[in-house]
Amino acid sequence: MANYFNTLPLREQLEQLGKCRFMDSSEFADGVEALKGKKMVVIGCGAQGLNQGLNLRDSGLDVSYALREAAIAEKRQSWKNATENGFVVGTYEDLIPTADVVLNLTPDKQHTPVVKAVMPLMKEGACLSYSHGFNIVEEGMQIREDLTVIMVAPKCPGSEVRAEYVRGFGVPTLIAVHEDNDPKGEGLALAKAYAVGTGGHKAGVLMSSFIAEVKSDLMGEQTILCGMLQTGSILCFDKMVEEGIDAGYASKLIQYGWETVTEALKYGGVTNMLDRLSNPAKIKAFDLSEELKVIMRPLYNKHQDDIINGTFSRVMMEDWANDDKNLLGWRAETAETNFEKTPAGDVEISEQEFFDNGILMVAMVKAGVELAFETMTAAGIIAESAYYESLHETPLIANTIARKKLYEMNATISDTAEYGCYLYNHACLPLLGDFMKDIKTDVIGKGLDLEDAGVDNARLIEVNEALRSHPVEAIGGVLRGHMADMKKIV
C-alpha cells in the first residue's frame, strides 16, 4: 500500500491540509438521531474504545464490542473492560456482520490487519469509523467502495473523554469524512451524530480532513505534548539533583509542576501562564524560551517534514516490523531514568511555588507550544487545528504525568504518539546539552533571588507585547470562548 497523501498532487495536498472549520453548535441540532437504533460495534476496548463506548451508550446508542479471539479466550484487560461494564462482547464473526457502524479503536499500527480482517464481514453500505487517520492517510488503506468512512477524533486521552462527558460536557473533537468513501453522502451526518454521542459537540467540533488530522495530530503529540514534557522532565530533574536539590523535592516539582503550570494555559494561554510569574521571572522565562526556540526550531521542522513526507510513519512501521526494537529499547530506557525512579517527596509545594521555582519548565512549555504551532501553520495546517494539537492538549497530557509520571503518559497515549515521543526525546536530549550547562537553580528548583529584582520597564512592555501578539494567543482566545468553564485540578 502506498502513502495516500504522497499520491495526491500538491494542489490537493494543500487543499486537504488547510481543511478545517469550526462548526456552529446549531449544526448539531439533530443530536444522535442519525445513529439511533443503529448497531455500533467497537473493535478494541482500550483507552479510546472503552471510554467512547461508555459515552455513546449513555447517549442512548446501541454499543457492543468485537474483540480478537485471543483477547476473549485469555480474558484480557480489554475483555474485562467491556464485560465488567455490562457490554455485549463477541468475536468479529459474531458481531461485525450485524454492525451498521464499525468503530476501529485498535492501535494504529494494527489497523491494516484489523481492517483487512473485518472488512469482508461488514454488511453492504455500513460505515467504518476511525479516531485517527493514520491507516487511511499514511498507509493508503483502500476501503470497500460501498462502505462509508468517517473519522471522529477526540482531542484528548480516553480518560478525559469519559470524565468530561460525565460532568455534562465533552472534549473538543475533530471530525472528517473520507471523500473517496462516502457513497451515500451520509458520512457527515453520521460523524456529527457520533460526536454528539461522545459529548464532543459541547466543547467544539472541527470539521477537517483525514489528512489535516493526521499531519497535525502526529506533530503535536510527538513534539510539545509528549516529547517536550518527557525531555523537560528528565533534564530538569537531573539538573536539580546535580545542583544539590533534594531528589524528592525535584521529583515532586516536576511530576506535579507540568500540570500546575499548564493549567494556566487553559484559562488564558501562554500569556496567562507567564503572567503567573513575577516580573523578573517572567522576563527570565521569556528569554530562556527564546533561546530554546532557536535551538529547537530545526528539530520541530524535521519532525514536521518527516510527518508530511511520510518518513515518520515509514520508520515507525519498519521498527514495528523489526519487533519494535527501538520502541521497546526506548521504553525500557525511560523506565530507568532517575526522574522515573525517584518518588515524589513528601513535601508541600504551593501552587505559586510551582511557577516560581519552575521558570525553566514554563519556558519549555512556552517554547514548545509556540514552535509546534508555528511549524504546523507554516506547513499549511489551519490555526484552529494547530491550536488544539498544541496548546489545548498540553495540560491534558500533563495530567497524565501527575498521575504516574512518564510511565502513565506513555501508557495512555496512542502507540504512534509513544513512538514519536521517544523519537523526539532521543534527539532533543543531546540538542539541549549545552543549553543546560548554563542552567542554575534560580530557574529550576529554587527560584530567582528577588533581592535585586529590578525590572526594566521598557523590556517588560516589550515582553508583554510579544507574548500577547503571538498568533496562538489570538486563535486561543476565540476557541477558549467556546469552553465556558474549566475545571480546577490542583
Partner: protein
C-alpha cells in the same frame, strides 16, 4: 449556690437544672472568663432564657456544679419583668379595704436603694421617662416597664449584667442609645445577653453560646463559639438562620420542566438486581420500588452496595444496562440517554463534592443543577440566576454568591450541593451520606435543610447513611442492606 466575686470567672460543670419539672437543662459545661461578653442564642424552646436564669439563681440543680456567680447581678428579662409586675399587683391585694392603691411610683422603683442615682437620672432622661416619674409602675406599658428595669439594672453597679432580649420592642433611637451605653461600660461590666437575632448582636460581644432542643422539654448548650473564629461564627450564623427563619423552598423554573411523570407509576422499580465486580457479587437479587411521595432511608455497612444501587438509579453505574431497571417511565437500555434520566433526579454525595473541583462561583454551582452538570457549560437564563440567588438567601450565603466554590468550607460546599440538587425540584432527591465528613454543627445544618425539603416540597427523598439510627423526621420507609457475604 456558691456566690463570690466574679474575678475568677463563672464555671458551670456538667450542670443539670430543673425548672418546675417542666423543663430541664442538661449537662451544661460553660466557662465565662471575666473579660468576656456573651450572647446566648439558639432555636425556640431550647432553653436560652433558662440558661441565663440559672445564673440569676433560678431552677433546681440536680447534678453538677456552678461556681463564681457574682452577688450583684443586673437582670432584665420578661420573666423578671412579669414577676415585678405580679409583685406590684400583690401589693395591691394586700392593701387594706377600700383605699385604692396607686402602687409604687416609677421614681421609687428606680431610685430606692439605687447605687448610682446620677446615672439613673441621666438614663431616665435618655429613655424619655422623665414625664412618667410619678406614674404608678403598674400603669406603665410593657415597653415602659422594660425601660425601668433596664435603668434599675444599669445604675446599680452590677458585677454582671444579664439581659434577656433587652432590645425587644425598643424603637430605633432608644435601641441605638442603649447599645451605645452598653458599649461604654464593657470594661467594667461583664455582660451576658439572650438574643434571638444575630444581627442585633453588639460589636463588643466576644463569645456566643448556642442552645438546642433535646426533645420537647429539655435543652442543652450545644456550641460555644469565639467570635474571632470566622469559620465557626459563619456556620453558627447559617445554622441559626436555617433553624429560626420560616423559609420557603424557592420555586422552580417552570419553562425548563422535563416531561411530566405518570403519577400512577413508581419513580423507581428495581427487579432482581445484581451487581458484581470480577467474581465478587456485591448485590444479589435485590428488589425495590420507590413510589412517589414515600421518603426512604437506605442504610447498611460500608461496602454493602448502597452507592452501587444508587448509581444504578442515577445511570452512573455501567451495570445499569444489564439489570432490570425502570426509572421515571424508562425501562433502561432502550435508547434513552442518561441526561433524560438525570433530569428527574437531584443527587448529593461526598464523591460528587470530591469531583466538583471546578473553580466556578457559588451561584454557578447552584445553577449547574438545572443542567445536571459539574461546572457550567451553558448560559443560564435570568430566571435561573434569580432562583439560584433565592437559594443562596435561604442558606444565608447571599454575600458569597460570587466567591469561588472551592474556597468555601467543606460544610458550606455540601449545603450548596444540596441546593444544586434541589434547584429543579426533582421528583427524586438522593442524598448519599450527606453528613459524611461534616462536623457536628455542619451536620445540624444539613439535617435542618433536609427536614425542610422533606416537609415542604413534592420531592421524594432517598436518604442514605450507614447508621440506621440516624433518622430524619418525615421518613417512614427503611431499607437496611447487609453485606452480601454476611
Amino acid at each position: 449556690m456558691d456566690t463570690q466575686n466574679s474575678l475568677d470567672g463563672i464555671r458551670l460543670e456538667n450542670l443539670t437544672v430543673n425548672f418546675d419539672e417542666k423543663f430541664t437543662l442538661c449537662n451544661i459545661d460553660w466557662t465565662i472568663e471575666p473579660s468576656q461578653h456573651w450572647v446566648i442564642t439558639g432555636t425556640n424552646g431550647s432553653g436560652k432564657s433558662a440558661l441565663a436564669a440559672i445564673l440569676a439563681g433560678v431552677g433546681e440543680i440536680t447534678s453538677g456544679k456552678i461556681e463564681g456567680v457574682p452577688n450583684n447581678i443586673g437582670l432584665v428579662s420578661f420573666e423578671a419583668q412579669a414577676e415585678l409586675i405580679a409583685n406590684e399587683l400583690k401589693k395591691d391585694d394586700a392593701d387594706i379595704m377600700d383605699v385604692i392603691s396607686l402602687g409604687t411610683p416609677v421614681h421609687e422603683m428606680i431610685f430606692t436603694d439605687c447605687l448610682e442615682p446620677e446615672l439613673a437620672t441621666e438614663l431616665v432622661e435618655k429613655f424619655g421617662l422623665t414625664s412618667l416619674m410619678d406614674r404608678a409602675f403598674r400603669k406603665l406599658s410593657t415597653g415602659e416597664t422594660r425601660k425601668v428595669m433596664l435603668i434599675r439594672a444599669l445604675s446599680n453597679k452590677p458585677d454582671l449584667l444579664l439581659l434577656d432580649e433587652p432590645f425587644d420592642g425598643l424603637d430605633a433611637d432608644t435601641l441605638a442609645m442603649l447599645q451605645a451605653h452598653l458599649a461604654s461600660i464593657i470594661e467594667t461590666t461583664p455582660m451576658i445577653m439572650v438574643l434571638n437575632r444575630f444581627d442585633e448582636m453588639p460589636d463588643f460581644i466576644t463569645h456566643i453560646a448556642y442552645m438546642d432542643k433535646q426533645g420537647d422539654s429539655a435543652g442543652q448548650l450545644k456550641y460555644t463559639v469565639n467570635r474571632q473564629d470566622d469559620v465557626a461564627y459563619n456556620e453558627l450564623y447559617q445554622l441559626l438562620h436555617l433553624k429560626t427563619t420560616d423559609l420557603d423552598v424557592p420555586e422552580m423554573d417552570e419553562s425548563e420542566k422535563p416531561p411530566a411523570l405518570d403519577p400512577s407509576q413508581p419513580l423507581v422499580k428495581l427487579t432482581d438486581i445484581n451487581i458484581k465486580y470480577s467474581d465478587t457479587v456485591i448485590v444479589d437479587k435485590l428488589n425495590w420500588t420507590i413510589e412517589p411521595g414515600k421518603h426512604w432511608q437506605l442504610s447498611g455497612p460500608n461496602g454493602c452496595g448502597k452507592t452501587g444501587i444508587l448509581s444504578l438509579i442515577t445511570g452512573d453505574h455501567p451495570q445499569c444496562y444489564v439489570n432490570d431497571i425502570f426509572v421515571f417511565g424508562f425501562q433502561r437500555g432502550n435508547g434513552e440517554s442518561i441526561w433524560q434520566i438525570k433530569q428527574y433526579i437531584g443527587y448529593v454525595s461526598t464523591s460528587l463534592q470530591w469531583e466538583y473541583r471546578v473553580s466556578t462561583s457559588c451561584r454557578n454551582v447552584i445553577i449547574s443543577g438545572f443542567f445536571d452538570s459539574i461546572g457550567m457549560y451553558s448560559r443560564p437564563s435570568d430566571k435561573q440566576k434569580k432562583i439560584a440567588d433565592e437559594w443562596l438567601a435561604l442558606l444565608g450565603m447571599t454575600d458569597r454568591a460570587d466567591q469561588p466554590f472551592n474556597k468555601l468550607s467543606y460544610g458550606d460546599q455540601r449545603l450548596l450541593l444540596i441546593a444544586r440538587a434541589m434547584v429543579k425540584h426533582p421528583p427524586l432527591l438522593i442524598l448519599d451520606e450527606p453528613c459524611l465528613g461534616l462536623d457536628d454543627m455542619n451536620r445540624q445544618l444539613v439535617l435542618a435543610l433536609i427536614e425542610k425539603i422533606c416537609a415542604g416540597s413534592e420531592t421524594t427523598v432517598l436518604y442514605v447513611n450507614h447508621h440506621a439510627e440516624d433518622k430524619i423526621k418525615g421518613i417512614e420507609n427503611y431499607l437496611a442492606m447487609t453485606k452480601n457475604n454476611e
